[in-house]
Assembly symmetry: C4
Homo-oligomer: 236 residues x 4
């Protein structure tokens, strides 16, 4: 499989993933009549199902990482060659941004709008650490199974659970973190991961948002690096 | 497997699929007490589950396309012979119409009633394009897996997500598009794809409906043709 | 595998299935605060999941029919020997009755109580015909797949859908039909199949219930026989 | 695989399981606006999905028992050596306690808080017996399938159903029983298994809680022992 074809698969797959995450969040919130639990149930169902479908679909082409953290973990374990990593990351982030734009357009929202949802604090950081740790464990553990279909179900199921069991409804996916800052809807996240479900919304200037995004990505980067070191070191 | 048996499988399978789509929509709306999100959750759950069951069931007989777009894509890639295509399309459309009638009868609705739900505009067209593009990608990608059971789960999961992440709750299935114009219930769609969930309902004459249906099918046809060219050309 | 062990598996499996069907119906209705859609969603989720678990569990022992209609269809196609059929049917019905009693006891209901839910008419009969036809198609079609795990998922998914797309929330399972007449809770059915969700409840004498049950089982028996003839004859 | 690595897998897996159970219970209750059914649906979805993901992930390393009852059943059938059993049980209980603490911290609750939820009586004991019997049957039956992926789905599906069909939303897992006594949130259980959904809450002293926990574990221990004897003896 040529690198061009693999990058196309990563880009399209991540775009469809973000379209599903953001689009189902918009539709869920619009139809839920004010019940955040119902909106998040719809969002969760659509996200988990989309992951199963997309990982089965693009797995045979590019490995279907659709996630910079998975790409880095795979390269750390000697799966993907390091020189393919920048292309993977670029395709994922570009795809994620396109996917958010597509979702916003499908529902008549502005193509891009800076999210005003926001959450802070150590509980959120712990949530993201737990979510990322769990996701990398799932990806790593399933690679031991001699089954091309186990990991798609495991990852879809894991994210289904993580939407509910982490306080940030974290995605453990930096491409999603960036892209969700670009929609001011249910799944939008000011500088990051929370769905903002139930969060108090307040107006902020663009500058502040970019700073928060920068800080959050730095925190995610350090956390991911530590995690990768731990995961690779422990061999789990 | 003889052609007659395969066409019977396509017809029965598509009829059961439409019975599930339309029937669960009626039951969901009746029991949901006005919550569109709850009705659509039930409709989604039943549709996705029916797809998994029916694709596993009829896959070994006819390939379980249950969808003219899938049949055309399969023939374009050299799977199904072109001379079997008209029979497949006819069986799918006839099955879809029978399935809608069965659902209407099971719930005491008129056998056929022109849908008065309607949605228009570029956001809807984008939704249908995205939904069809995604579905054909899923079908194409899963054909690379050496597993007869991966595609049924992937397609069921994809449609589960697409009900929520597209503004039209599109089916990416022309047979469904035709058939859903024939029920004036939750999943009914005037000339096409939307569930009409939450859509303003207004009375229209039959002539206008047929025109809308004609226009929509033309748009779907052109879109599908472009998609097929792109998919086949890119080899994804 | 000895016949005794297989009959034990059929009995325990059917008992657990009915405990799941009836128990989750009670719990769903108690917690749903009057929303029938929410109660049926919980009932559907639990029933579909229980079927997946139980068919995977008891499949390797007895084939996990857990359903007289499946046993008869299997014998008709030369799978199960006809002299094992009475034992299978007896174990299934006995298991189903025990399962209802267990569910009633777990939730502090009377061990047995004649159901007062009732539905009638041609729409109900059509629903049961469609449901049974679909289930036997699923079981038959999946037997062509060389996978011991496909049928459990397909049957679980099919019943998940059928709870919503048939007007009777039919089980297509005579053992369930008998047993559900013995609980006067959410899934209870006077002489048969409906969950009675949303149905007007009225008091009836035991005699009338038994007559209705008799009539319903006769109708189901004739319908199943016709179906089996059609299915076996057509070879689908 | 060294014992150290297997115990690490059991500990991490059980911690993530408890984080998912308790965390999704907190989030579900917070977002459900008073609907216990909606909160339990979210809790069920997250728990079942987490089980599928974690059993697929840690199965290839340690067998992914994540449950003292499963470890004891496995040792009884000659799977795990008896001298590894104490390590497994210790890792599971320690992991469960850590997981509850992580969930409490993620949602800003006290690290540990004795649960004030409580349920009693023979109906509860029957529920736990049925739940444990079913779980051990599922684990045992699936070991006959030549598939490394069947048991994770079967167990996840079984617990999904058991949350709804038992009056105690029992986990059939002593490590969970212990750990859930340490959170005073939706899934918290005074000395044990119930989610306490809908249960009247009343203040109790710590001493009384410990006694109840002790009594409940004794009952569970005796019940599990009897079950194991029956299961091993009958060979099901």
């Amino acid at each position: 499989m040529t690198l061009g074809r693999r990058l196309t698969a990563e880009g399209i797959g991540t775009a469809l993933l973000l379209a599903a995450v953001v689009g189902s969040g918009i539709q869920g919130e619009r139809l839920a009549g004010g019940s955040v639990a119902l909106a998040l149930l719809a969002n969760t169902l659509a996200t988990g199902a989309a992951l199963v479908a997309l990982l089965l679909t693009f797995g045979p082409i590019s490995g279907a990482h659709l996630n910079p953290a998975v790409t880095l973990a795979d390269a750390s374990r000697g799966g993907l060659g390091w020189r393919d990593v920048p292309g993977y990351l670029g395709a994922q982030i570009a795809g994620a941004v396109v996917g958010v734009a597509v979702a916003n357009l499908m529902f008549g929202e502005p193509v891009f709008a800076l999210s005003r949802h926001e959450r802070h604090g150590p509980a959120q950081l712990l949530s993201e650490f737990v979510a990322t740790f769990g996701l990398l464990s799932v990806v790593s553990g399933c690679s031991r199974l001699r089954s091309a279909t186990a990991a798609p179900f495991a990852v879809g199921a894991y994210i289904t659970a993580a939407y509910w069991f982490t306080a940030s409804t974290s995605f453990a996916n930096p491409a999603v973190t960036v892209a969700r800052a670009l929609t001011d809807t249910f799944t939008g996240a000011r500088g990051g991961s929370p769905t903002g479900a139930g969060a108090p919304v307040r107006e902020t200037g663009g500058e502040e948002v970019r700073m928060t995004l920068g800080r959050r990505l730095t925190a995610e980067g350090i956390g991911t690096a530590l995690l990768l070191a731990a995961v690779v070191g422990s061999g789990i």
